[in-house]
Symmetry: C2
Subunit: 197 residues, 2 copies
C-alpha cells in the first residue's frame, strides 16, 4: 500500500529518490528556494534528512536535480562566465543556444518552461532558478548590484526563449545562432557591466 | 435559437459586434493575421463582410479590436516612435511602462498574456501583434531589416513583461519605471539602430 509506505522511513526503497525529488519540486514551487528546507523535503517524502543530503548533496544540488534539467545549468553558466566579465555576454548567449538549439533537449526544456508559466510554477524561476542558480554566477563576476543585473539578464533570456522556442516567432525562430549571439550578446554584456541607476 | 440565428445575416442584432469580434479572435488565433480575411471572419460570424468593415474598419483595426486591449497599441507605439529613431528606445519603454504599470489596465493585460501563452494563442502574438502592430511602427523609422529589429525588440519587451508582471520576479518587479527605462531603453535603442548581422 503506497499510502502506508509513504509514512515510514524507506532508505532502501527503489523509488525513494523519485519521492524526494517530487516532494522537493512541490515545495520549491510552493515556497520558493529560500524558505524550503531539506528537513521539510525529507518530511514530505517520509525519509530522514540525512538521506536527502546523501542522495542529492546541498540544497542547491537538490533544487537543480528537482528541475530534472538535461544539463546542469551551473556548469553551463559557470563555464561561460569563467573567463571574467569581458566577452561574457556573447559567451553566455552561445552556451545558452548550444543547449536550447539541441533537438535532443528541446522537448524537455519546453516542458519545463510550460511548468514555470503555470501560476503554480512561477516561483521555480522567480524564487528558485534566479536566486539559486543565476545570481551566484553573476555575483562571482564581482560586479555591483548583482541582483539587478541578474534580473535584467534573465528578462532578455526569458524573452528570447519565449519568442524563439515557445512561440517560434519569425524571424527570431530561424535566425542563425551566430547572428543571435552577435545581436543579443552585447545586450547581456551591457546588463553585466554597464553602470546601473 | 442561437444556432439558427447565427446562420442568417443579422445587421441589426445587438450582439453582432460581439459575434464578429469573437469570430475574428478565433480565426486570428488559428490562422494568424495574414491568412485571415475579413470575408472569412464575416462568414464565421454569419454577417456580410461590408458590415465588418462598417463596424471595425481595416483588418488591422479589426485585429486590434479583437484583442480588446485597454488602449490602442498603435497609438502608444506610434507616439513613442514619432520623434524618429533618436531616443526612441527609452521613449518606447516609458510608453510601455505607463500602460503596464497602471493598475487599472494590469488585470486585463495579464489575461491577454495568459491567452497568448496558451498554445492556441501563440499566433495572436507571433503572427498577429508582431507583424500587424509592431512591424509597421519599426518600418516607419526607415531602418534596415525591420523584421529582425521588431523581433529583437519584442524579445526584450516580452521578457520584461514575463519577469516584471507575470512572474513578479524581484528586483525587476518593484524597480522604479525611471530605472527600468534607463537600463532597458538602450537595449531597445540598440535593436532599432545598431548594425545587424
Amino acid at each position: 500500500m503506497p499510502g502506508t509506505a509513504r509514512r515510514g522511513r524507506r532508505p532502501g526503497a527503489p523509488d525513494t529518490r523519485a519521492d524526494i525529488l517530487e516532494a522537493a519540486r512541490a515545495l520549491f514551487a510552493e515556497q520558493g528556494f529560500r524558505r524550503t528546507t531539506i528537513r521539510a523535503v525529507a518530511g514530505a517524502a517520509g525519509v530522514d534528512p540525512a538521506l536527502v543530503h546523501h542522495y542529492f548533496g546541498s540544497k542547491e544540488d537538490l533544487f537543480v536535480a528537482a528541475l530534472a534539467l538535461p544539463v546542469d545549468p551551473r556548469q553551463v553558466i559557470g563555464a561561460a562566465l569563467a573567463g571574467g566579465a569581458d566577452g561574457a555576454g556573447e559567451r553566455l548567449v552561445r552556451a545558452f543556444l548550444s543547449v536550447w538549439d539541441d533537438p535532443a533537449y528541446r522537448p524537455h526544456l519546453l516542458g519545463l518552461v510550460r511548468g514555470v508559466l503555470e501560476p503554480e510554477g512561477h516561483r521555480l524561476l522567480s524564487e528558485g532558478f534566479l536566486p539559486a542558480v543565476v545570481l551566484p554566477a553573476v555575483d562571482a563576476l564581482g560586479v555591483d548590484q548583482p541582483e539587478r543585473r541578474m534580473a535584467l539578464v534573465a528578462s532578455q533570456v526569458a524573452g528570447l526563449i519565449l519568442l524563439r522556442y515557445v512561440l517560434e516567432a519569425e524571424p527570431l525562430a530561424s535566425m542563425e545562432p551566430d547572428a543571435v549571439a552577435a545581436v543579443i550578446g552585447p545586450t547581456i554584456q551591457g546588463y553585466l557591466e554597464r553602470p546601473l541607476p
